[in-house]
């Protein structure tokens, strides 16, 4: 039986980061990935002969700078490609709204729709950046156990002093006021023009099962802006999102981590409520002083065995909300489609179909009743315009993130849902690019059910658990596991299901690695 200091389960961004940092600290680490290669949600893959796509994430808005410096990711081939990034939204009368890091340019673009909004834009950017200033240090700390706060855990909140000093207590209270708001309420306080409201609101519903009129969407909105310099941030990884995980793998291996692919874990071995190792699907057993899971909490504890959890903890795990509502769609296109109002620059970056806040809200209605949105919110890009290697010469790839397609379907099976998803996406795209339907050569539809089976995501939730206020900070993933440790001794969590939640920022993996090191 092979023995390690640490076993990391799952080769996504967070698993790789945890493994790399533990390896760097001198631990003997093995990382086990079920798939053919590492990457998880941050992979780039071929979905049809000659056609490549970023599986789930086209853009990586924020990576904690500690990661890129400490792991020296650039030397492992990772680089951002920040040329011409903007989030564009086709508006009415052929006008296009374009939100970019250039505040002035964005204001000019907004002015096409409303002078008042254009004037308010810089103030809004400042406000959001001020609010996320409070969250950023919060994301780097292990949540204290609440309500049993002791002095040590209070002291761990020390990084929070800096933003409070910088912005004043009054603004901390402002954060408390704004955090539980709905995007509708926030935007009512600021803007009037619908394409702007719709597009900013869409940033608040990403991967949620809720529309912008729901409480918690402002929190989700802020979450997506932590660490970023602009509103509705878009950032591409040069060569495709998969380059990030490739670089992380290389960094991990440099740090001495053994990365095993096609290694599916079938159970976590226990002895007296302690994790002692894992059993692979092929029966091989590996032992270790610590097991760290980058899988979502439910999948993780499934490996432990429900019957091995105490009644209270079992109830808590059962009550974690997943309910994925995001679908991914990849089209291999014969040629570049002709969009009415979007130029190539816009198509090279990211386009959001969000003409109004109520459009986005309406698209969320269907999901509540287990139906696929007929007019969904779509965010798409044509990665082949940036990376010519993504498609055969002259051909193109269109990848879209689509909401809402519920995981819990009513009155239909997944195949029907997939068909409905295709129909709605094509119908919406047709209104902006007539004839696009005829250009489709290849396609891949990933509903939450498909995401679940493809990536092992419980209920297809990309964030490993809804990013809502009831699953935030000391409540993520449960009130007794928010410190990356679990009731099973020597078993740790490091995935997006933990604080500070979903995305490719890698904070979960980083925080968890620090905790595991302390535990050792």
């Amino acid at each position: 039986m092979k023995s390690f200091d640490t076993i990391v389960i799952g080769g996504g961004v967070n698993g790789l980061i945890t493994a790399a940092f533990l390896g760097k600290a001198g631990n003997k680490v093995v990382l086990l990935e079920k798939g053919k290669s590492v990457g998880g949600l941050a992979s780039t893959e071929q979905f049809a002969p000659g056609f490549h796509c970023n599986s789930v994430f086209d853009s990586v808005p924020w990576i904690n700078s500690v990661l890129s410096t400490d792991l020296d990711l650039e030397s492992h081939g990772f680089r951002f490609d920040d040329a011409d990034t903007a989030l564009s939204t086709p508006g009415t009368e052929g006008k296009t709204l374009s939100i970019s890091p250039d505040t002035e340019a964005t204001s000019r673009s907004i002015a096409q729709f409303s002078d008042r909004d254009a004037e308010k834009w810089p103030g809004f950017c400042e406000k959001i950046s001020m609010l996320t200033d409070f969250l950023e240090p919060l994301y780097g700390i292990t949540p204290p156990p609440i309500p049993e706060l002791d002095l040590t855990s209070l002291l761990s909140m020390k990084p929070m002093i800096k933003p409070v000093r910088k912005h004043g207590r009054q603004n901390l209270v402002e954060l408390l006021r704004i955090l539980p708001m709905t995007m509708l309420e926030l935007l009512d306080e600021w803007f009037e023009s619908e394409p702007l409201r719709g597009t900013v609101a869409a940033s608040g519903i990403r991967h949620l099962n809720q529309g912008p009129m729901a409480v918690g969407t402002v929190f989700n909105f802020l979450h997506h802006h932590v660490g970023s310099e602009s509103i509705c941030p878009v950032r591409f990884v040069s060569g495709g999102t998969g380059q990030l995980t490739d670089a992380l793998q290389s960094a991990a291996e440099t740090a001495g981590v053994e990365v095993r692919t096609k290694a599916e874990v079938s159970s976590v071995m226990l002895q007296n409520r302690q994790a002692t190792g894992i059993t692979l699907a092929d029966g091989e057993q590996l032992t270790a002083g610590a097991v760290v899971s980058a899988l979502d909490p439910q999948s993780t504890f499934h490996l432990v065995g429900t019957q091995n959890l105490t009644p209270r903890f079992r109830r808590r795990v059962k009550n974690i909300k997943f309910r994925g509502a995001t679908a991914r769609v990849h089209f291999g296109l014969k040629s570049l489609p002709q969009f009415d109002s979007l130029n190539e620059k816009a198509l090279k970056s990211i386009v959001s179909i969000s003409p109004s806040l109520s459009y986005v809200e309406s698209s969320s209605d269907a999901a509540k009743y287990g139906q696929v949105s007929q007019e969904p919110w779509i965010e798409f890009s044509l990665p082949s315009l940036r990376e010519s290697s993504f498609a055969p010469l002259g051909k193109h790839v269109l990848s879209a993130t689509v909401q809402y397609v519920p995981y819990h379907l009513r009155g239909m099976d997944n195949a029907t849902a997939r068909q409905k998803l295709r129909n709605s996406v094509v119908a919406v795209l047709e209104t902006h690019a007539l004839g696009i339907a005829d250009l489709i050569e290849h396609e891949q539809m990933l509903t939450p059910n498909d995401l679940e089976s493809k990536f092992g995501l419980t209920e297809g939730n990309i964030n490993h658990g809804e990013m809502m206020l009831d699953q935030f900070f000391f409540m993520r993933p449960t009130i007794d596991t928010a410190q990356y440790s679990t009731p099973i001794k020597n078993l740790y969590l490091c995935g997006p299901g933990t604080h500070p939640g979903g995305g490719l920022h890698g904070m979960n993996g980083l925080n968890a690695a620090q905790l595991v090191l302390k535990g050792n």
Partner: protein, 527 residues
């Protein structure tokens, strides 16, 4: 009656909170004048004989949350407070029904019929909620601190709260954290499985709000309503004999007993200030009254955007008041009936008619009702909370006849194209049709019908946008954020002007709490 021109305190608005403040101030020996715009007292807690012989609790219709210490302090039972408990909650369904009553065994038996799990979970749930309610109650009774500049007492308040939460233990704290953030549907899903039960229970999470049961934040509103149920005892919900107005009348009589002067048909047009101090009020008819202290029981928007001169208020305060969410979402249909409604699923008379009747067959029904409202129309199939006060209090209607009060959601204030007479009637028809689905005889026994849209509620009762809570019970509008941060302790930027309405902490419902706490704050600061 000759009236003095000078008082210690003037209270604007004769709703139950204004009356409570007036009574407490008078009880302390202050010379108090209370001014009510309408000819009747009570604000939204009012009884009116709308049709000859038929008396209605026109607006607010059940009493549960009225604080017991107010009943004691103001000797309300001596002045006519008489509460009759509601006996049951009845949810008619297609071909079946759900009825919960005061008796534990019977309720368990009934729930067991639908779901053994729910029968077991029900008591535990009630217990958990009442314990959390008990844990939150001290917060409701705490003067909200100003978190932007925590003085010694503010810091102590927060520390006390911290200690208080710690004493809850992690299980209850977890439940509390969930209640503060989740949707009532999600929260109830963690406990129960029978949809009509969950839907009916979730309804208390949407009352008076612009949220559906699946909207996060609605669980808190549910908790807010549980607060009145001491020990989880269902019987705490009750009617006032003579209608809800009699509650207000009891407080008014108490206030008068303590020496307060009450004037009706006295419409305040302006709060008079001098050097940033409130010094009195001016009425629509030109009369002016002077006082050392002015207290407004109106909602924050009415108070600050209509009665106070903008130049007396800081700009960011005005902006905050404008940002205060106060969307009305409910309507009221009051019916005078020739007999009792006959429910298809449970025909004839019975205990199910002497409690609350809830048209809430499942989550989807209510959620779809919300979807309609969210997109700018009244619900095509609304959630309705019905009571028949005349069954418990025969004085409310002529013999053999009945009054039926229907609280309806959703009827948004901002309806596409605005409300008008024909939409009001269409709304009334919709409600009657929704009732007829379960009690088909209803159409034949309606003698009179009064329909109140949020516009009517605004115009008649002076509630901005028809919001029954003077401001939505959303997380960002609670405690030290209600109505405006820094001004959550009943004071206002205008010195000697205070607020005492539901728009202040701890919020709406016939609790009397804002009125009581405002009075205490005023008396503490009296110089």
């Amino acid at each position: 009656m000759p009236v003095d021109r000078k008082y210690d305190a003037i209270v604007i608005g004769g709703g139950h909170n204004g009356l409570t403040t007036a009574a407490y101030l008078a009880r302390d020996g202050k010379k108090v004048l209370l001014l009510e715009r309408r000819h009747v007292l009570g604000g939204a807690a009012v009884t009116e004989e709308i049709f000859p012989g038929f008396k209605f609790s026109v607006c607010s219709y059940v009493v549960s949350l009225l604080k017991p210490n107010i009943i004691r302090d103001l000797q309300l039972s001596r002045f006519g407070l008489e509460l009759v408990p509601l006996e049951s909650t009845f949810t008619p369904l297609e071909g079946d029904y759900l009825i919960r009553c005061a008796d534990n065994d019977l309720t368990r038996q009934e729930l067991y019929r639908h779901s053994p799990n729910d029968a077991e979970a029900y008591n535990k749930f009630g217990q958990t909620m009442s314990q959390i309610g008990m844990a939150v109650r001290p917060i409701l009774n705490t003067m909200a601190p100003d978190p932007t500049k925590l003085g010694f007492s503010g810091a102590r308040t927060l520390m006390d709260l911290g200690r208080h939460f710690r004493s809850l233990g992690s299980d209850k704290f977890e439940q509390l954290a969930k209640l503060m953030t989740m949707s009532s549907a999600d929260f109830l899903d963690e406990w129960f499985e029978f949809e009509p039960l969950k839907a009916t229970m979730s309804a208390s999470g949407i009352i008076g709000t612009f949220m559906g049961p699946k909207s996060p934040g609605s669980a808190y509103v549910m908790l807010h309503h549980y607060m009145g149920e001491i020990d989880g005892v269902f019987r705490a919900w009750g009617f006032q004999r003579g209608g809800t107005g009699a509650v207000s009348m009891a407080i008014a009589r108490s206030a008068e007993h303590f020496g307060a002067t009450i004037m009706t048909e006295a419409d305040v047009s302006k709060i008079i200030t001098r050097n940033g101090h409130a010094t009195g009020v001016a009425l629509e008819n030109g009369d002016e009254f002077e006082a050392q202290v002015v207290v407004s029981g109106l909602d924050p928007k009415r108070t600050f955007l209509n009665l106070v001169d903008a130049s007396d208020l800081p700009e960011d305060f005005i902006q905050s008041v404008k940002n205060f969410r106060i969307r009305g979402s409910s309507g009221k249909v009051n019916l005078a009936l020739d007999g009792l409604p006959d429910f298809t699923c449970l025909p004839g008379d019975g205990p199910h008619l002497s409690g609350a009747i809830s048209i809430s067959p499942d989550f989807d029904y209510i959620e779809k009702a919300y979807d309609d409202a969210k997109h700018g129309s009244f619900s095509k199939r609304p959630y309705i909370d019905i009571v028949l006060p005349s069954v418990l209090d025969p004085d409310m209607s002529p013999p053999g006849k009945h009054v039926m009060s229907c609280f309806v959601q959703y009827a948004p204030y901002d309806i596409t194209g605005g409300w008008d007479d024909s939409k009001r009637e269409a709304f009334g028809d919709t409600v009657v049709n929704a009732l007829a689905r379960f009690a088909p005889n209803i159409k034949d026994i309606i003698l009179h019908r009064q329909v109140l849209t949020p516009w009517d509620i605004e115009n008649t009762f002076g509630l901005t946008e028809g919001n029954i809570f003077h401001g939505e019970l959303a997380l960002q509008q609670l405690f030290f954020l209600r109505p405006v941060v820094k001004w959550a302790d009943y004071r206002t930027p205008v010195r000697k002007l205070y607020q005492c309405g539901s728009g202040t902490h701890p919020g709406g419902g016939i609790t009397g709490a804002p009125g009581e706490m405002a009075a205490k704050k005023i008396l503490k600061e009296w110089r």
